[in-house]
């Protein structure tokens, strides 16, 4: 769940419109890249220490109810490096992270990187589809809302968007499950309740693809609605901003038809802040899917990280958190570079 409040400016530093031309683009890029590296270093430190103070001894949490000797406990700690001093563990962590070794899952005894690769595609599929759908529909909606401001269409759709925006997306998911998977009254539950496929045998690749698509209908729909609300609100606000600019008044005065004004000027300029926000949000998609993956039992990265908290499976948590924050930093950088390229005014 991202915390970008509708109408709020993107996190990039946008100075007032008065600013003249800023630094050269390469310098701007250099600065932003350096900043991102700083963030990355900070994340690594946070990442390490946060997880080392998690309560609970994983050996004990995992082992309760089994006949385990103290020697076996010690053996467990030794194989996972838990008996080393913290500082040493930290340097091992840094070295391993840079070589792509994220450790071995305490629970599954599988390399974390392998586990994460397996769990990545359901998340990407879910979140990718929802993002594309919500971006396209959201931008389209935002433009039309802004253009027909205060019309019945605008008021009702903006109201709906605000309502959706105020809704915990997982609760929406639960309601949709209750209505469309379980069935209420005359509506029978037709959609699967969860999972990514039905696990049936002898499916061809196409059948399997359709099976997965069928399972993803409700979760994608839920997530699309959630993102849609946000994106349409942002797009609507950006277009409204542009509509207030003087040059549009001029364009109108010149007698251009509404549709031309919209397409040629307002929309093109309004796309800039909106795409930046969407790019920024892309970084949050991994974590954003946590609740939806939980509610719909989709074996993705988000679910992996909440499951890992039960053990706690240090290495899996560390890996997923690293991935999630890395994605945000990368998306942030991309958004900044994009913005700097398209709008020189921000390079101050």
């Amino acid at each position: 769940m991202s915390m970008v409040v509708a109408g709020e400016a993107p996190a990039t530093e946008v100075t007032p419109r008065s600013g003249g031309r800023g630094k050269s683009y390469p310098r701007y890029v250099g600065g932003k890249v350096l900043g991102s590296l700083g963030s990355l270093a900070f994340m690594l430190v946070v990442n390490f220490f946060l997880f080392r103070v998690l309560p609970g001894d994983p050996a004990r949490t995992l082992g309760r109810g089994r006949f385990t000797t103290p020697e076996q406990l010690a053996e467990f700690n030794r194989t996972h490096g838990l008996d080393q001093p913290l500082v040493e563990q930290f340097f091992t962590f840094l070295r391993n992270t840079f070589t792509g070794d994220l450790g071995v899952s305490i629970k599954y005894n599988v390399p974390v990187s392998e586990l994460m690769l397996d769990r990545m595609w359901p998340t990407l599929l879910l979140v990718g589809t929802s993002t594309i759908l919500s971006t396209v529909i959201g931008i389209w909606m935002g433009i039309h809302q802004a253009w027909k401001r205060d019309s019945f269409l605008d008021r009702s759709t903006t109201g709906t968007a605000l309502t959706l925006y105020s809704m915990p997306e997982w609760w929406l998911g639960l309601v949709l499950i209750a209505v469309f998977s379980v069935g209420i009254g005359p509506i029978p539950g037709i959609f699967p309740t969860g999972g990514l496929d039905s696990g049936a045998v002898g499916q061809s690749a196409i059948e399997h693809g359709l099976d997965v698509a069928w399972h993803l209908v409700l979760p994608v729909f839920t997530l699309t609605l959630a993102y849609l609300a946000e994106y349409s609100l942002i797009m609507r606000a950006s277009v409204l901003d542009e509509l207030g600019e003087d040059y549009l008044t001029t364009a109108r005065a010149k007698g251009l038809r509404d549709i031309q004004v919209r397409n040629n000027h307002a929309v093109r300029n309004a796309m800039l802040p909106a795409t930046t926000v969407i790019a920024l949000n892309l970084g949050f998609v991994v974590s954003g899917a946590i609740t939806i993956e939980t509610v719909f039992s989709i074996p993705g990265l988000g679910l992996l990280s909440t499951e890992a908290l039960q053990t706690p499976d240090y290495w899996v948590l560390q890996g997923t958190f690293l991935f999630a924050s890395g994605a945000v930093i990368f998306a942030n950088l991309a958004a900044n570079l994009l913005y700097g390229l398209l709008d020189p005014r921000v390079r101050s």
Binding site: M3, V175, L309, S325
Partner: protein, 308 residues
């Protein structure tokens, strides 16, 4: 920014205070008049007031005994009836009672988290905007670092590390939402700093604390206020989500913990709609109310946003 507060300080100390007090009151009255014209903002305000009243009057509306599992009188997941208007939960407690008392916790956590977020965010935003040297840029970097931390994973981990209590939940939400406030306050501070009257104050020898406390802070306050209502909305949503993931305070009933129980006892599959619909609808209503108020306030304070 609203116009009246921008007028340069002219008269002597005592009268300045009186004058500015008067001005602020006028500005407030004007703001209120402006706000009242926002129908959606007023609807939001109405909903919010209604929920706050329910939360404050909870002991009058339903006995606190209704929260005790040991004193529960109903059956397991009974459907709504004359006795239990919204049915019962899995321990036989009235869902309506839980809902009424839950509003206290949900609102309280929302407010507490917002206060934490606002205090940190305003402080860091002010300082990083005011100080241009290395101190300011370090604070700015710091804010940026926190901004990229994915909210939910961090909140989950912190909630686990700190333990599960009301205050910890608020703290977690507070320390994960402050950076956006800080950035907003920072950009406000940057623009206010350049205004002529502050320069004059500097020339007259006003200290930093005086500049920040007497001139910048009062000017960013309206924006902080507008941002606050939006943060409350985000905080209530976050509380609900964290509680739903099983990280809420298990000894207290909030809308989030109700939804968690509803989910774990299978209210959806047993068709116990009265257990999972009302808490969710309350969350939507309250969050929507705060969002509408926040948007209306933003428009009042920043004419550029009008018509959004």
């Amino acid at each position: 920014m609203t116009a009246p507060t921008e007028t340069p300080v002219e008269a002597g100390r005592l009268s300045t205070r009186q004058l500015s007090w008067q001005r602020r009151r006028q500005a407030l009255a004007r703001g209120w008049a402006e706000f009242r014209r926002h129908r959606s903002g007023m609807v939001g305000l109405g909903i919010m007031v209604a929920f706050v009243l329910v939360a404050l009057c909870a002991p009058l509306l339903a006995s606190a005994d209704g929260l005790s599992v040991t004193k529960a009188t109903g059956g397991v997941l009974e459907s709504p009836s004359g006795k239990f208007w919204l049915g019962t939960d899995e321990s036989g407690r009235s869902v309506l009672t839980l809902l009424i008392w839950g509003s206290r916790i949900s609102l309280l956590v929302g407010l507490l988290a917002t206060v934490i977020s606002m205090v940190i965010g305003t402080l860091i935003g002010l300082l990083s905007g005011y100080f241009t040297g290395w101190a300011g840029s370090i604070l700015y970097r710091f804010t940026e670092w926190f901004l990229v931390i994915p909210f939910l994973p961090l909140a989950i981990i912190l909630a686990t590390v700190l333990g599960r209590s009301l205050f910890n939940i608020a703290l977690v939400i507070g320390i994960t939402t402050w950076p956006s406030t800080a950035l907003l306050i920072r950009s406000q501070t940057l623009s206010i700093k350049e205004r002529p009257y502050l320069e004059r104050a500097r020339v007259l020898g006003a200290g930093r604390a005086h500049q920040i406390g007497r001139h910048i802070l009062p000017n960013v306050m309206p924006m902080v206020f507008a941002n606050t209502t939006l943060t409350v909305a985000a905080a209530i949503l976050s509380e609900t989500t964290l509680s739903f993931l099983g990280l809420g305070d298990p000894t207290r009933v909030s809308w989030g913990t109700m939804l968690d129980s509803a989910y774990s006892v299978g209210a959806m599959t047993t068709g116990s709609w009265w257990f999972f619909l009302p808490p969710g609808l309350c969350v939507v209503a309250v969050v929507l109310a705060f969002t509408l108020i926040g948007r209306a306030l933003e428009e009042v304070l920043d004419p550029r946003l009008r018509g959004r």
